[in-house]
């Protein structure tokens, strides 16, 4: 990757292309699956949510379900099961279940469970509020159903309330930040080399990496804002991770402004490289350390004391898509950085040549006049 492809002549070999092809091979299928894999079946709604004593009829709404009359329904109240007297599938997503609650169950909140003897079960906790409570209902001895969840065997994404289909964004939004961090790390590497070797090309490479990294940072911020609007109800919240990301973006924008404001190349390279070291330290602090402190609450999963990617945060099927997607986005980011770097290097060479040509012609002119 470090090889400067613009130097070699003729057609590029396999070592030049393989990781770019790998980027495509990782990205295309992972994005396809990220958008296409079904969500696990879930019970999303029960109506009415509030009932009194006596016979009642509930309509249960499922998501990605295929209800039939073979499904059974029961309520869980005070540890006992209250079975439906009759269950009828209205269509694949709706079940109608009749209950006789008698004088009313013992506790005021019931959970509801739908199950198929073979396929599995679905539940909705604390779904029903009872206005009247009594001695408990009759007929509390119905089968509990299988212990596994409906759709547990097949490839699907977890169906979480509030998130629903937007859980797919994990495979789109989060890799933006991973790519940004990798590019900023590459930029730091080149800045250190620029300081070490006093090499202007390394400084140019560092700037190119920051440029590409800022694109992914901007994409991460905007996609995050849209996802936040749909999930948390606001484009921007005072979450530590959000504010940290915004500050990081400003720090790196300031890097470009700083680089643009110094005209002497060697001075610019030194200043920008030293600044970049501090910028990367702040990135690590704002994006990786600060959001994970125990004392700080964060809306982001895996923050506020927990390490990210523990077994509760990320489902295995999501992982199978998330890791290749992240690797693909990182390779694409590196590709973009390399294009930018080579373009800037080319521009520099052209301008150096013009500069040299101009000064030689000036010297010739002086010789003629003198």
């Amino acid at each position: 990757m470090e090889r400067n492809g613009s130097r070699s002549k003729g057609r590029k070999g396999i070592s030049y292309w393989w990781w770019k092809v790998l980027a495509i091979l990782l990205l295309v299928p992972s994005v396809h699956v990220a958008l296409h894999a079904p969500l696990a079946p879930a019970l999303v709604h029960v109506s009415p949510g509030r009932v009194d004593a006596g016979p009642v009829t509930f309509v249960l709404t499922g998501y990605n379900t295929s209800f039939t009359n073979a499904y059974q329904v029961y309520l869980i109240n005070a540890g006992e099961r209250i079975c439906a007297t009759s269950v009828e599938a209205l269509d694949e997503r709706h079940l109608q279940a009749r209950f006789d609650l008698g004088e009313g169950p013992r506790e005021s909140l019931s959970s509801i469970v739908v199950h198929h003897p073979e396929s599995g079960r679905l539940g909705l906790a604390s779904a029903i509020y009872h206005g009247a409570t009594g001695a408990g209902a009759e007929g509390a001895d119905c089968p509990a159903g299988p212990s596994h969840t409906l759709g547990a065997g097949s490839f699907n994404f977890p169906n979480r309330s509030i998130l629903y289909e937007s859980i797919r964004n994990l495979n789109l939004h989060v890799p933006m930040w991973f790519t940004m961090m990798v590019l900023m790390g590459i930029s730091l590497y080149h800045s250190l080399r620029a300081l070490n070797r006093n090499d202007l090309r390394e400084d140019g490479a560092a700037a190119a990496a920051v440029h590409a990294g800022l694109l992914f940072c901007a994409l991460g911020l905007v996609t995050g804002a849209v996802w936040a609007r749909a999930t948390w109800g606001a484009w921007w919240t005072n979450d530590v991770k959000l504010n940290g990301a915004a500050v990081t973006a400003l720090i790196y924008l300031a890097y470009l402004v700083l680089r643009g404001s110094v005209s002497e190349p060697h001075r610019r390279a030194r200043l920008a490289s030293v600044y970049n070291i501090f910028a990367f330290m702040l990135l690590v602090l704002f994006l990786l350390v600060l959001p994970r402190l125990n004392a700080i609450d964060s809306l982001h999963p895996g923050n506020g004391g927990n390490p990210a990617f523990n077994q509760y945060d990320l489902d295995d099927n999501l992982r199978r898509v998330f890791y290749p997607a992240t690797a693909g986005w990182i390779l694409l980011g590196i590709w973009m950085f390399q294009l930018r770097r080579r373009m800037l290097a080319l521009q520099e060479r052209v301008e150096d040549r013009d500069h040299a040509r101009r000064s030689t012609s000036r010297i010739k002119g002086q010789q003629i006049t003198s």
Binding site: R168, A225, V226, A230, A234, W236, E348, E351
Partner: protein, 94 residues
């Protein structure tokens, strides 16, 4: 004055700085604008409906579109820069 010009080229340098400044100001403005939005959260109905539609699949569509648009915008900017370089090389050849 002409001799003091950096080898990166004064015009390109100025244009690059201007773009960076515009992006900088836009981001700060966006952050300032978002502050009252976070405080009073009265969302327009159409937005709620469109983002939450199809079990929030529309949010995924919006995110995918933004990423594609962002990459295309980046490609456009690089393309324009290359065109300027090509013009410069053509001028130098003459």
């Amino acid at each position: 004055m002409m001799n003091l010009r950096p080898p990166f080229g004064g015009i390109l340098q100025a244009q690059k700085q201007r773009h960076t400044r515009i992006a900088f100001v836009a981001l700060v403005m966006g952050m300032i604008q978002s502050l009252p939005a976070a405080a009073s959260d009265a969302a327009p109905h159409w937005l709620e409906d469109s983002l939450h539609g199809s079990a929030k699949m529309n949010t995924v569509v919006a995110v995918t579109t933004i990423i594609l648009l962002g990459i295309f915008l980046w490609l456009y900017l690089q393309d324009r820069r290359l065109s300027r370089m090509e013009e410069k090389i053509d001028q130098g050849a003459r």
